[in-house]
């Protein structure tokens, strides 16, 4: 690259600028430095002035005014922004407004006054400073009211009665005297034997402690005491005594034991436990330490004795006495076991006998095999030999009624379950009689057995009523109600032939009355509605019996039309109101018509042609009918 400086044009003349003189427009003009030609200006920070730099071959240079100020600022001066200022910090020179002052220790006394050792500077009579040279040994400065001067010191003060460490006290008028009973040595204030401290001592230092019998108290004299706690501390073998009217009341001995000379009156023991050392100090019985004989309130035991049914063994009072309370072996006199909060259990092989102490033996119902029931109520009359299960409940179902439960499981372990088998006996209710020898001979029983194959939720059963025949020792079956609910009677059924008025005995069944019926009215079963309607023999009657529809029953009670009621199928019925007076033993027929508005049996044979004659019983007495309809029917011709 080739460069050529910029060419602006031909020079037509040279003119002297600022600080120069000379110039011209032709020939060879010259310019001369002429400082006088410079334009006047005010020098300011940031300006430059020309210099001849002798360090650089006397070259022409410019120099900042600020640099000149820095160059000129010597010790005690500082240049800043071209200005030179006197330092005013305490390391050099201080100024205070229009006065000059010297920093602390900025000039020594020797530089100011050139005083000799021990001299002092005073003002003299010319109100100028003057030197007062050091005085004689032990001399003191005195003043005569105008000037001061050295003078011999007055003689020292002598305290009467003072010894080493004696404390001075004021005596008389502005006089001091040594107090022989008070001394202070180091940090110990000692009160002499004959001195009293009245009325109280108050310590208010950080420790708040009063030391008795110890020479050097420390802040840590009681470990664990909180800072600020007030502490009275007896140290070493020194006791702490509290007296009342010069009589010892409380002693804290060197072992820390506290002894009360008199009673502890009032207050409440707030501790959770209190321990009494067995034997105490010189005591051999608890009562020597704590007297409770007259104490009648609070939780304490004065004398321990056995109550009813409880046997007390050992001493009843005293300290460290072995004592045992146990339920009486004879268990006599116990009136109540209280309210149990858990099952009352009696161990296996033991029972509960109410009324006496000895269990009675019966049999399992065969009159031979002994059985000792675990729960027995024994007495001499109904009042002391009966048991009662009573429920007081508003529930009218089984859930509200008492239950005697007999249960039999097929497993040999209590609480374990195995299904029982067909024919297995589930329970027995047996009545025994004393045969003069024992109570093992049964008289009658109700036996419960499985009747069929049982399974889960399936338990067919039967009830067997048994009695013991005369001359025998075991019950035999008399009546059975099986799982099909059929009743089997081993022998005959005997009905009451003289029932009370009005009542009945015999075989009954429940039917619905087709019309309102009263006890004793005879009826037939109408095919149209399967209800019982009054039966008559007269051919014109609405309840006419026929060979196909005959009289089958007698209303055993008053039954309203449409209601279900009991009907006597066979048996005795007495009704002194509804029946006419029959001739005893006469044959009774279906009536031709109602008698006294009642369709009761009639003692006269129907006589109207076409009537069907049906014998339905006979009169057991004047108002008692044995109803036993004969289904042989005769038509009256």
């Amino acid at each position: 690259m080739i460069t050529i400086p910029g060419i602006k044009g031909d020079i037509e003349g040279v003119t002297a600028g600022d600080g120069l003189s000379g110039g011209g427009t032709d020939g060879t003009p010259s310019l001369a430095l002429d400082l006088h030609e410079l334009t006047a200006a005010v020098v300011a920070d940031g300006d430059f002035i020309p210099i001849i730099d002798t360090n650089d071959s006397n070259g022409s240079r410019k120099e900042a005014v600020a640099d000149l100020a820095t160059l000129f600022a010597g010790d005690g001066l500082t240049a800043s922004n071209s200005a030179i200022a006197v330092n005013v910090d305490d390391s050099t020179i201080e100024t205070d407004s229009d006065a000059i002052r010297i920093k602390d220790d900025g000039v020594t006394a020797a530089k100011l006054f050139n005083l000799a050792r021990g001299s002092v500077l005073i003002g003299n009579g010319s109100a100028a400073t003057a030197e007062l040279t050091i005085g004689n040994n032990t001399y003191v400065l005195t003043s005569d009211g105008t000037d001061i001067a050295w003078a011999a010191a007055a003689s020292g003060v002598s305290l009467s009665g003072s010894t080493d460490n004696t404390i001075a006290t004021v005596t008389g008028s502005n006089a001091l005297a040594g107090e022989a009973n008070l001394t202070f040595n180091s940090n110990i204030l000692t009160v002499g034997a004959d001195a009293d401290i009245e009325p109280q001592i108050i310590l208010q230092n950080d420790n708040n402690s009063l030391q008795i019998g110890v020479a050097n108290a420390t802040d840590d004299m009681i470990s664990g005491s909180a800072d600020g706690d007030a502490v009275i501390n007896s140290v070493g073998d020194h006791k702490m005594l509290i007296a009342q009217n010069d009589t010892l009341a409380i002693t804290l001995d060197a072992d820390g034991d506290v002894t009360f000379a008199n009673n502890i009156d009032g207050g409440t023991w707030l501790g959770t436990t209190i321990a009494v050392n067995k034997g105490g100090t010189g005591a051999t019985a608890l009562t020597n330490l704590i007297t409770m004989g007259s104490h009648t309130t609070g939780d304490f035991v004065g004398t321990i004795t056995g109550g009813t049914g409880i046997t007390s063994t050992g001493g009843t009072t005293g300290e460290d006495v072995d004592h045992t309370l146990s339920v009486d072996a004879a268990q006599t006199g116990i009136t109540s076991l209280g309210t149990q909060v858990a099952n009352f259990a009696v161990g296996n092989g033991f029972g509960v006998v109410i009324g006496t102490a000895t269990q009675e033996t019966v049999s399992i119902g065969d009159g031979a095999t002994d059985l000792v029931p675990e729960l027995q109520v024994l007495g001499t009359a109904a009042a002391d030999s009966s048991i009662l299960l009573a429920s007081f409940s508003t529930t009218a179902t089984t859930a509200g009624s008492p239950i005697i439960a007999l249960a039999k499981g097929g497993n040999a372990t209590l609480g374990s379950h195995t299904v029982v088998t067909d024919g297995e006996e589930l329970g027995n209710i047996i009545a025994f009689g004393d045969d003069g020898t024992d109570l093992e001979t049964p008289a009658a029983s109700i036996q419960f057995e499985v009747d069929g194959t049982p399974g889960s939720g399936d338990m067919p059963g039967r009830i067997i009523f048994g009695t013991t025949k005369d001359g025998e020792t075991a019950v035999t079956e008399a009546v059975r109600i099986d799982s099909s609910q059929n009743v089997t009677v081993a022998k005959s059924i005997t009905y009451d032939s003289t029932p009370a008025n009005p009542s009945y005995s015999g075989v009954t069944a429940t039917f619905t009355a087709g019309e309102t019926l009263e006890a004793g009215e005879v009826v037939y079963l109408k095919a149209a509605d399967t209800r019982m309607w009054k039966a008559v023999s007269v051919v014109s009657g609405t309840g006419l019996i026929t060979p196909d529809i005959m009289c089958v029953a007698m209303a055993a009670e008053d039954i309203s039309a449409g209601d279900a009621g009991l009907f006597l199928l066979q048996g005795f019925l007495r009704d002194d109101t509804n029946f006419p007076t029959y001739a005893i033993g006469e044959t009774l027929y279906v009536p031709e018509a109602e008698q006294s508005s009642l369709n009761v049996p009639h003692g006269t044979i129907p006589t109207t042609d076409g009537d069907f004659v049906q014998v339905i019983g006979w009169a057991a007495d004047g108002n008692t009918v044995y109803f036993n309809p004969d289904f042989t029917i005769i038509e009256h011709a």
Partner: protein, 112 residues
């Protein structure tokens, strides 16, 4: 018979605070060498610049100083290699022509 200089093209552009050759100037009118151009002659305006042709970029303080109004001559081989950088805070302008003859023809005999 010697050749006669003929201006082939004209260019101008801004030299700022980054190193540029004559084709890289700001708003350069010509961004590649015109066909047949053998030299470039231009004038620096507005402010001084610095120039380096050794492959190292010039800066405000390093490089050949060319004052405001200075004239530069570039041979064909310097079109891309000669870089310019403004000398202070003021951008400069370079304006000139590309010629069909070498520099020595333009300026006559150049001293060795």
């Amino acid at each position: 018979m010697s050749r006669q200089p003929q201006a082939l093209d004209y260019t101008s552009g801004t030299i700022s605070n980054s190193a540029v050759n004559i084709f890289e100037m700001g708003s350069a009118l010509v961004t590649s060498a015109p066909t047949g151009a053998r030299s470039f002659v231009g004038t620096i305006e507005l402010a001084a610049v610095r120039a380096r042709g050794d492959g190292t970029a010039p800066t405000t303080s390093e490089g050949q100083l060319i004052g405001n109004g200075g004239i530069i001559y570039l041979g064909e081989s310097e079109f891309n290699s000669m870089e310019f950088f403004r000398e202070d805070s003021t951008d400069a302008e370079l304006r000139g022509h590309f010629y069909n003859v070498e520099v020595d023809v333009l300026i006559g005999k150049v001293a060795s």
